[in-house]
Amino acid sequence: MKVVVVRPERCVGCLQCRFACSVVHSESKSPFTAPYESILSKPRIHIGVTTGKEPFPNKCRHCNPAPCEMACITKAIFRDESTGIVLINPDRCINCGMCAMACPFGVIRYHVYVDRRTSAHKCDQCFARQKEGKIPACVEVCKVGALVFEDYNKMMDKATDQLAFLVYLGIREKEHGKGSYPTLIAYKNILQEIKRR
């Protein structure tokens, strides 16, 4: 199962993902007409700023088991079995606010987006786009690689490889001292290779 993985250390806070998200979830799906629609489409990804002014992209993690799904009293929040995406059915939502209470990441907002009724609003990992074989809009527009659409286990494997190699370099440097081949270049080369896999 592919998920959107967030790498906050790469984020520069350009908010392009927010823009793309609102456009994709609008009626017309066009950046020129979306701002003039009667129900304004709201972004489903939030870029928080820490006190150190570092941006932090925050979006639904589609947890399993999902606390919001457990807390939902009307069964408006459900999981799509084939993709594992947690979705909200706005017709069933009664705007009780239970999901915001249960969400450990604080990503659920309340907006009017269907039928002029306020209902819970969160990332649907571009469910409609994925059906068409496209990747989520926020990932598509992210220029710095802070948002990656990747199989979670594969992502973890890559991270493990990187860490393992870093540890190996450290040990080598400690035992043999600085070699003729600078460690940093060696590290970069290996990272390139891991990326290509």
């Binding site: 932090f56 925050n58 009307t74 009664i94 239970m98 915001a100 969400c103 450990p104």
Partner: protein, 405 residues
């Protein structure tokens, strides 16, 4: 394996779904004394307010379940034979089980003046809501300032019915929040047009021409079409007690949700589990906790040995004027320090209770976005990395808390 579930609400249904998810070939029987398709109890106040219809409250489609799942609606369990592993229904049949889940839930507390003849009702089951509905025309009294009471009052107000809430303590939601948070709720409810009478109780009820004349302890008299009592709930433990299962306030369970009898599990409002904020066993009769317990009970019924570390009492109430989220214990205790801040321009109020740098309780008024993060810290027992005073002052971003996690 034969799995039998008594009760088809939050815990029972969560358990059934989890059982079927991990072992679809299992024979499951789910027994409920109510003759309706599984519905959500928390929505009864919305039903009373005319915001939802009956079919909108149904949360599971019973026809979508596999053939080896048996639904018995409108049946009551008479007793449990723990030796031979049988459940005996009042109507006669005996059902054998390998694993049994008791999710009997809780009953509304009925005061001494409870009398359906005198149009005094509790609101706990679908039948109750159906009984109340025809009586209400233009005036109603709600007794009790708990979540059920205030939500019922709000629902009725949406139907343009004059509501009076009679609260015996000094402020609404006195079991959950502290006095200061209570004031904000009281003020906003009054602004919405709900009449609130605190520190009073019902002294006597007289009937006259189909209209109730209620006299309060202060001598004030009120007219009403019906009275709805929301004075809290009490775990239903009679069935378990009869079967010789250890009970206290609720049914006692270990961390694997198993009761003192082998193969019998309990979950939901009827059982007593660890309260993380209180650090003692406690009955948290709320929907999300019941679902969580049902989930863990199902895992353990399948032999997975998944320990449940306990939950916390938390609740969310959203009306047109405010959104309140509370969790844990707010009233100060030993070693608990309180931090609070009111922001008048946005009508926001934040309160945080901290014990040894670990948050144990919170109340967020009108800012729901960041409440979940703090509730998660309370649940996990994680110590704060930032100054709690800065959190309530909105000086630190929630991202400072989220980022290191």
């Amino acid at each position: 394996m034969n799995a039998v579930i008594i009760g088809s609400s939050a815990a029972g249904l969560a358990c059934l779904d989890t059982l079927l998810r991990f072992s679809p070939e299992l024979n499951a029987t789910i027994i409920s004394e109510e003759a309706y398709a599984p519905y959500c109890r928390c929505l009864l106040t919305y039903y009373l307010g005319g915001m939802l219809k009956e079919q909108q409250m149904v949360i599971r489609d019973t026809t979508s379940y596999p053939a080896n799942t048996n639904f018995l609606f409108g049946e009551r369990v008479d007793r449990i034979d723990t030796q031979k592993k049988y459940v005996i229904l009042t109507s006669g049949p005996e059902i054998s089980y390998n694993k049994l889940l008791i999710a009997t839930g809780s009953n509304a507390v009925k005061p001494k003046y409870y009398d359906e003849e005198k149009k005094t009702f509790t609101l706990r089951y679908m039948d109750d809501a159906k009984k109340i509905e025809p009586h209400i025309r233009n005036k109603a009294i709600v007794l009790g300032g708990g979540f059920v009471g205030i939500k019922a009052a709000f629902g009725l107000m949406e139907r343009n019915i004059g509501v009076t809430v009679v609260i015996s303590s000094g402020y609404p939601l006195s079991m959950i929040v502290d006095e200061k948070t209570g004031w904000f709720i009281e003020k906003d409810l009054r602004d919405m047009g709900i009449d609130i009478r605190t520190g009073e109780d019902v002294a006597g009820i007289k009937t006259k021409n189909e209209v109730l004349r209620v006299s309060l302890s202060s001598g004030f008299e009120l007219d009403s079409d019906a009275i709805i009592v929301g004075k809290g709930v009490k775990p239903r433990v009679e069935l378990a007690k009869q079967a010789g299962i250890k009970t206290d306030m609720g049914i006692m369970v270990n961390e694997f949700m198993e009761t003192s009898a082998e193969g019998i599990y309990a979950a939901g409002d009827c059982c007593e589990t660890m309260d993380i904020a209180r650090k003692r066993f406690w009955v948290n009769a709320i929907w999300p906790v019941a679902v969580e317990q049902g989930y863990y009970a199902a895992l353990n019924m399948l032999g997975m040995k998944a320990p449940y570390h306990g939950g916390i009492g938390m609740n969310s109430m959203k009306t047109r004027a405010f959104h309140l989220i509370t969790a844990g214990v707010l009233k100060g205790g030993e070693g608990v320090s309180l931090f609070e801040k009111y922001m008048p321009s946005t009508n926001q109020f934040r309160k945080l209770a901290v014990r040894d740098n670990v948050p144990v309780g919170m109340a967020f008024y009108n800012n729901p976005e960041e409440a979940g993060v703090i509730i998660n810290l309370i649940k996990k027992g994680t110590s704060l990395t930032v100054d709690p005073a800065k959190i309530v002052n909105n000086e630190v971003s929630m991202m400072d808390i989220l980022k290191p996690l």
